[in-house]
Structures are given as C-alpha cells and as structure tokens.
Amino acid sequence: MKNKAILGFAGLAVLAGCATYVAPTKEESMQTVKASFKERGPAKLDRLNQTEIQAVCSDAQMTGKEVPKAQREALEKKTLATIKFPADGKYLGDFKEGERIAQSGVGMQWSDSDKTVNGGNCYACHQISTAEVSFGNIGPSLKGYGKLRGNSEAVVKYTWGKIWNTHAYNLCSQMPRYGDAGILTEAQIKDVMALLLDPNSPVNK
C-alpha cells in the first residue's frame, strides 16, 4: 500500500514535470552498451567486458580527475610484472619488416578475417621514419628514437615493455597493448623494435 502510494506520487511528479530525474548508474549505462552490439567476424562480444584499467581510465577521462597516485602506482606495478620479455634474449628483428608493420592498419576489426595479419598502425599516431610524412600526432614523435636514446639494456627493455603493455609505465596511456592483447606476435614486436633501435633503420638516419 505504502509502495503504491509512493509509485503514484512519483508518477504524478513525472506528469507535473517535477525534478524527479535520476541519472542512469554507470552499471545501467554499461548494460545498455552491451545490449547494443553484436558479434561479427573476429570481434566477439567479450570485447565489451572492461578490464580494471579500462574502467579506471574511462572514469578518469570522463570526470577529468586523475587516478589517485597510490592506485595508479599499484596498477602500473601489477602490469609491469606481466610483461613477457623474449625468451631467447633477442630483442631486435628486421627493421624493414618493422616498417611494414608500422604502416599496416588492419587486423582485429569485424571487417577483417581471422587470417588477416595484424598491423601495428604506428603511423596513425606517431611520426617514425622521416620519409613518411603522413603520420598522426596522438602519440609523441619517434623520429631518431634509437639515435637519441642509444641501445642500452635499460632502453631496450623499456621499449619492449612499452610496446608489450604501455599501461605499466603510464596507466591511462591511449596506446594499445600490442603484446598483452595479442595484437602483434613476439616476432613482429622484434621487427618494430628494430625499426626504432637498429642504427641502420631509417628512423635513426
């Protein structure tokens, strides 16, 4: 009875245009999103289940509030521990192949097939080789990457880790997790590493 009275009151308030609006919760919004997509090709619905970092960083950008320092450092540390470094200890592959991977923007879209060889699409966001003038600016310029930084073990390992899972170093970076998310194979990452660090790579000329 009491409930009915409350419902009746709420109904009247809506009719009267009173300020009864309650914003949808984040959970409700997420459910709506999940109900609005369908699987197609390699793009399955489980892609909409957010990781902890995706969720934390979505909120941070939406609210304009940075992730609290302690939480950020804890998540970065946890992520750092998951990076897989090459078992054979070899970090640099073929820079020419690396350039092809950096140029290619295909893979993992519903318009791609399971057989599509994924690209890194690095030029979408970064300047890399000087000869390529069609580059984006969402990420920093990588021109002269190896020449500027050298190829000490620290630089090499950091670069590998950054490509494998950028969130270990900058929690809410917009760069994809090329190793962690299985976008590029270990061999492909070695080729991209060579593009950045090989002294003979056009990046360092």
Binding site: P24, S29, N137, I138
Partner: protein, 272 residues
C-alpha cells in the same frame, strides 16, 4: 554525370589537394576546406536528397500511404527543421529516437512495412544505389539546413539518453582499449593526416561533428548517415558491430547533438 564518374573526378581533385598538404603538415584541413568550397554547388548528395523527397511523398508499403503523416516531433507532416531537433522523446513509441529510428518507426507503423526487412541492410554497399533510409535521411537533413540544432533535454528519457551517451563516449574497451574519447577528446589531434574533432571538449568541433552529417563521402562515392558514422568508428575501435538503431547508437547521437546545440545544420555535407 553518373555517381561513379563523379566520384572518380572528385577523388582526383582530392588527390591533387592532398599532395599539396602532404608537403605542408597540418594544412590538410585547409586543403579539404578548399575542395569543399569548390564543390559547394555540386554536392552529389543532391541526387539522394531528391530521391528521399520522392520516397517521403510516395504512397508505399502494405498500407499504401506516404510518410507525409509521419510525426518527426514537430507535428505530423512537418519535415522542415525537424532533423535539427532530433533525437527527441516520442510518446507514441515511449522512446527517444534519432531521425533514422523515427523514419523506420513510421515506415513500420504508418506504411506497414516489415521492420526486419527494412533494417537488415541500412547502408548501401560499394557501387550499390543508396538505401531508402539513406535517401530519407538526406532529404530530412536538407530540410533543416541553416537551422539551429535544438536537441531537447526536458523529458527524463532525453536526459537519460544523454547521460548514457556520455558514459558510452568515454567507455574504453576492446583489444585496443579505445573509446570515442581516445580520438575525439583532445584538441588538434590527427590520425595520419586526418584531423579529429574534439567532440567532448571543444564547442566548435562538436558543432561541426553534428551539423555536417549525413555527408557525401567522396572516397566511397556515397552518402553516409550519422548511424553509419558511429558504426564505422566502432569498427575501427575494434569493437563488435554497433547494431543499427540500437540504444547506444541513439544515446551517442543525443550526446553529440546536445553538445552541438545552437550550431547551424549544414548537411548533407561533403567529406573526403
């Protein structure tokens, strides 16, 4: 000129403009603005607008009626200015609807057409003629050209649509961790040479993003709608397929539209 010939001609013009901008990073937008100006009087979207008008006024479907009694929010039969005020809440459907949702609703409820059949392939494929929905959207938006965007936010469902749209805009997901905001939340960003509007934080960019769709896409030789724009963004975000007329598609259009309130509609536009 046929659509194909036209597209080839324009594609050539863009290439020549693009080769200029390649030598001057950052001026791609100027080049595109220049060719847009050159084409102002010859946007091939006009052909689609004309077909949309004919479709709107022709008696069709099992009930053999036109869409002239379709209520786009300003009263039955009023097309002028309606697109600029959608998405909005419709009491008869008890739902917030963008133009494309409403057009389908009218085709089903007034003309008696089969919803599944109309919505199965809403976007024309390469070399195919524009779909009915594309043509109707082209006509409706042309009828709002120059009019101010005025997306209502008075009904609770309109507010909820905006709020969910905002959440969806910032939701990072998929193997690339991308949200809409990854590319459209910062000023002066580019993918390759393509300028990206900052839809959430820059009024001028938000205005252009909403007021210039639907648009004739020169690279595809076809007019594309706002539903298509979102669907193809999500493809590149590596998300699954955004369902045509789905709640999230409408919520995002509400979010984009409200952010552009006050701007003047300028569509169908012409884009690269």
């Amino acid at each position: 000129m046929s659509r194909q010939t036209w597209a080839t001609t324009v594609a050539g013009m863009i290439l020549s403009v693009a080769s200029v901008s390649v030598h001057a990073q950052g001026s791609a937008a100027e080049g595109i603005a220049r060719y847009r100006e050159m084409l102002q009087d010859g946007n091939p979207a006009e052909l689609t607008v004309a077909r949309g008008e004919e479709l709107w006024k022709t008696k069709r479907g099992p009930k053999n009626v036109s869409l002239e009694q379709c209520d786009l929010g300003l009263g039955a039969g009023v097309v002028k200015g309606a697109y600029a005020q959608m998405p909005r809440y419709f009491a008869d459907a008890d739902q917030v609807m963008d133009f494309e949702s409403r057009a389908v609703w009218c085709m089903v409820n007034l003309q008696g057409m089969d919803r599944a059949a109309i919505t199965k392939s809403p976007y024309s494929g390469a070399g195919q003629k524009q779909t009915d929905i594309e043509a109707l959207a082209a006509y409706a938006v042309e009828m709002s050209r120059g009019m101010p965007v005025n997306i209502p936010q008075s009904h609770p469902k309109e507010k909820a649509s905006f709020d969910r749209g905002r959440q969806a805009f910032y939701m990072r997901g998929g193997p690339y961790d991308f949200s809409c905001a990854t590319c459209h939340g910062v000023n002066n960003q580019r993918i390759r040479l393509q300028d990206l509007p900052n839809i959430s934080g820059n009024k001028q960019d938000a205005d252009r993003a909403f007021t210039t769709w639907p648009a004739y896409r020169v690279s595809q030789g076809a007019l594309r709608t706002m539903q298509w724009r979102l669907y193809d963004c999500f493809r590149q975000q590596r998300w699954p397929e955004l369902v045509f007329l789905s709640p999230t598609s409408i919520d995002l259009i509400t979010f984009l539209g409200v952010n552009a309130n006050g701007a003047k509609m300028d569509a169908p536009a012409i884009k690269r």
